[in-house]
Structure formats: C-alpha cells, structure tokens
Amino acid sequence: MRGQASFGVALALMLALAPDHARAEGGSWSDAEVLGKKPAVHVDLVQTRVSAYDQTGRGYQSQAGPLQGPGSETLQVLQAQGEFVMSEGDHLTHRVWIPVDLVTSASANAIDKYYAKPDVVSTASAQNMAQEVQYELTDRADADTTWTGGVGFHHEEPFLSWFYALEYQRSLAEDNATVSVAANEVLDWFDEFGLGGVRRGRASRASSNLNLGFSQLLSPTTLAALSYGVTLQRGELSNTWNTVPLAAGGRESEALPRERVRHAASLALQQYLPWHGALRLRYRFYRDDWDVTAHSLEAELRQRLADWLLVGASYRYHHQTGVSFFTISAVPSSSPYATADSDLAGLFTQTIGGNVTVNLPTERLGTLFLSCGFDHYFRSDKLRVNVATWATGFRY
C-alpha cells in the first residue's frame, strides 16, 4: 500500500511538472521530451573520398597523334573529395563539399603561361588541377516542407565557373510520396583558343536546368521514383581546343551551335530483398535538339553479409545516337557546324562495378565507415576507363 501511494505521488508530481504543451495535446509527448533535447549544433557526417581514373582511347578531336587523327585520349585523374554535414537545431542542415581534380591529360592542358607553346596542339601530356567548393543550406520549414539552397565555385587553369541551386521538396500522404522541384544555374567563363593554340580571349556559357521529381512508396519494401529535367545551354559550348579533320587535308576548329535544349526523363525502382539485400533498377531516356537520343539502363544489387559488412555490384548499359554534324572528314562549305569529338558520336557504353563497405560503430565518434570500389567503363569506340575509389568517414 505504501509503495502504491509513493508511486501515485511520484506520478502526480511528474504530471504537474510536465510542460503544459505536452499535456495540452491530449497527453502526447514531443520528440524532444521523449528523446531528450537535441544539441544546438550537431555534426552528422564527415567523409573523404579519393578516386583514381585511368583512361585509354583515341578520338579524332584530339591533336595528340597523326594530323588526320585519331589522336590520343589517354588521361589520368586523381580526384579527392571532402564532405562535411552539420545540423543546427531542428530545421537547418549545412553541407560543405570540396572536390579537387588533378588531371594528367593528353589534350587538355591549355595554358600558355608556363610553356613556350600551348600543348593543346603539340604535347601529349601535361597536368591540370581543378578545385571546387559547394555549400548547401537545407531548411525543414515544417514536417512536410523542405527548402534547399546551394552555391558553388569552380576553378581550373583556363576555367572559372559559378553554380547556384534552389530546391523545394514536399512530403505527401504521411511521407508515402514526395514531390520536388529544383532549379540549377551554372555559369562558365573560360579561355578560348584558336586552331594553333593561341589564346583568343575569353568565352562563356550558361546552363539553366529545371528538374521535377516524384517518388512514391508502392509497398513496405518498394520505392518508385520518376524525374524529368530540361536544360538550356547557351554560349560557347565547345572547349575551343577540339579540332576536326578536313576532307581536303589538315584540320579546323570544332564549331558547335551556340544553343542546346536537353530533355531527360528517368524511372527508378528500389526493392528490398528479404535476405538483407536491395535491388535498384533505373531507366533513363534522353533527347536533345542536336539529334542525340539515348537510352540508359542501370542495375545495382547490394547485400548485407554481416551487421558491419555490405557488398554491392552494378551494371550500366548506355546507347546514344551521334549529333547530326559529327564527322571525321569535314567539308567546311557543307555545314556551319562540325565536330569530331568522340563523346558526341553514336556509341554504346557499358560499366561494370563492385564495392565493399565496412561499418564499425565506435563509442564516441559514431559509426566509422570504410568503403572501396572499382568500376570498368568501356565504349564501343575502344575507349576504356578503370576507376578505383576509396572512402572513409564518420557518420554520427
């Protein structure tokens, strides 16, 4: 009896001391009361990723070879990325992302500051470094509405770029569905080079993108997502050092239209498998007004082998038609536009990849994760890329 009386007094005291708003809602408790007050600032994620690319191939746009081509597309890239995500209170999330690319390329180095002759024309190997920083702020305005704004700056040797983004996302039907609208703008400002590698001044381009997305839970284990994006690119759309072999012998600079409208739509399905696995399928259709039509199909299988060990395998098939003015033997009087860029040709590509991730919970620093992966990319025109990637970080 005495024990029951003490319990009753304690319960009465707890109810009396509980915040008014908790009881005002019919006895329900807020998240903060159940889970404890969230710290004002909380680090959610710190990670780094390093990827190494080794590419071989030949393309008629490259002058790193015989005059009539094809020239070398040999390329090595060492790409380092860092990411830091921090939440502030219940509504704000900050994300800072810094990628740095170190490129050793057969045809890309375009500076004439340190070399007697710009090696866009003559030298088959030089180095170029690109660095970028992006910042995103996400505001969870209410339980269903999220706004994200982003800015970024990119710098490489002959190239400056600015990036702006704004996204609105709304959850529907008790989080069963999500609708999103995103707008992105990229402004590029870069050196322009003539056929002989001589700097001709500065050029610019702008890329404006509008993206619509919709996702829906189809079952307790199935998620479907649909997206459509339209992109308008205007300005100098060539890198200005690509060249085109002429039918009469010799070469001329690549000439591209100054505007391009691109459409991409995709459907993705994600299915949880009862043996702690997951299957992702994605189909993407693409079409633009340079007469490129493309179909891409991706599949990824992930499997949890232990609480701390995940493995994955992926495959991607991509087919595209070439732009209408692609040629490796141009006749200048026949068309104002011409390109021999192998990326703009009709081709199909395949990518086979695999990855392993280890998650190790720690007492004070959240979960330490280590990941490594490998991708082999190969194209119908014999271009090959091997990619090795490593990531490590803490998820708090």
Binding site: S51, F159, L172, A173, Q233
Partner: protein, 80 residues
C-alpha cells in the same frame, strides 16, 4: 503529325500535370509508418553524395547524352 519539339513539350506538360495532380491528391498512402523498417536498412540507403558525384562526372565528361537531369552537365571539366 506532331513534330519532335511539340511532342516533347506535350510530354513535359503531361508530366507536370501529373505532378500537380499528385500534389493535389496528396499521393497514395499505402504504407503506414510502422511498416517501413525495410527502408531503414543500410542496403537501402542512397545518400552517398560523393560516390554519386564520381559516377556523374565519369559519364557527363564522356557521353553527349549524360547530364541534364538534376545537375547540369557544365561546371567545368578539363578532361573532355
């Protein structure tokens, strides 16, 4: 016979109309919150932005048809 641009415009308009309809109807509530444990499994996570960037750059710098969906195929690349 509709030309290609008109077809694309009509397709985009229909897609946008579908999104508006989904918004107005509030989507379909088919899975209650206490039946979503599968989506919390690590194998269902799809939030590695750095890996996504790596893959996107692999494709946008080598395929004329890559990009244009969510992130623009611009922003500078010395490896084209």
């Amino acid at each position: 016979m509709l030309d290609f641009k008109t077809k694309l415009f009509v397709s985009a308009a229909l897609f946008a109309a579908g999104l508006v309809q989904a918004t107005l109807l509030g989507g379909c509530a088919v899975v209650p919150q206490n039946h979503r444990a599968a989506f919390a499994e690590p194998v269902m996570r799809d939030d590695d932005a750095l890996d996504a960037h790596r893959k996107r750059k692999l494709y946008t710098t080598r395929e004329a048809a890559a990009g244009g969906d969510g992130k623009t195929a611009g922003g500078g690349c010395s490896c084209q």
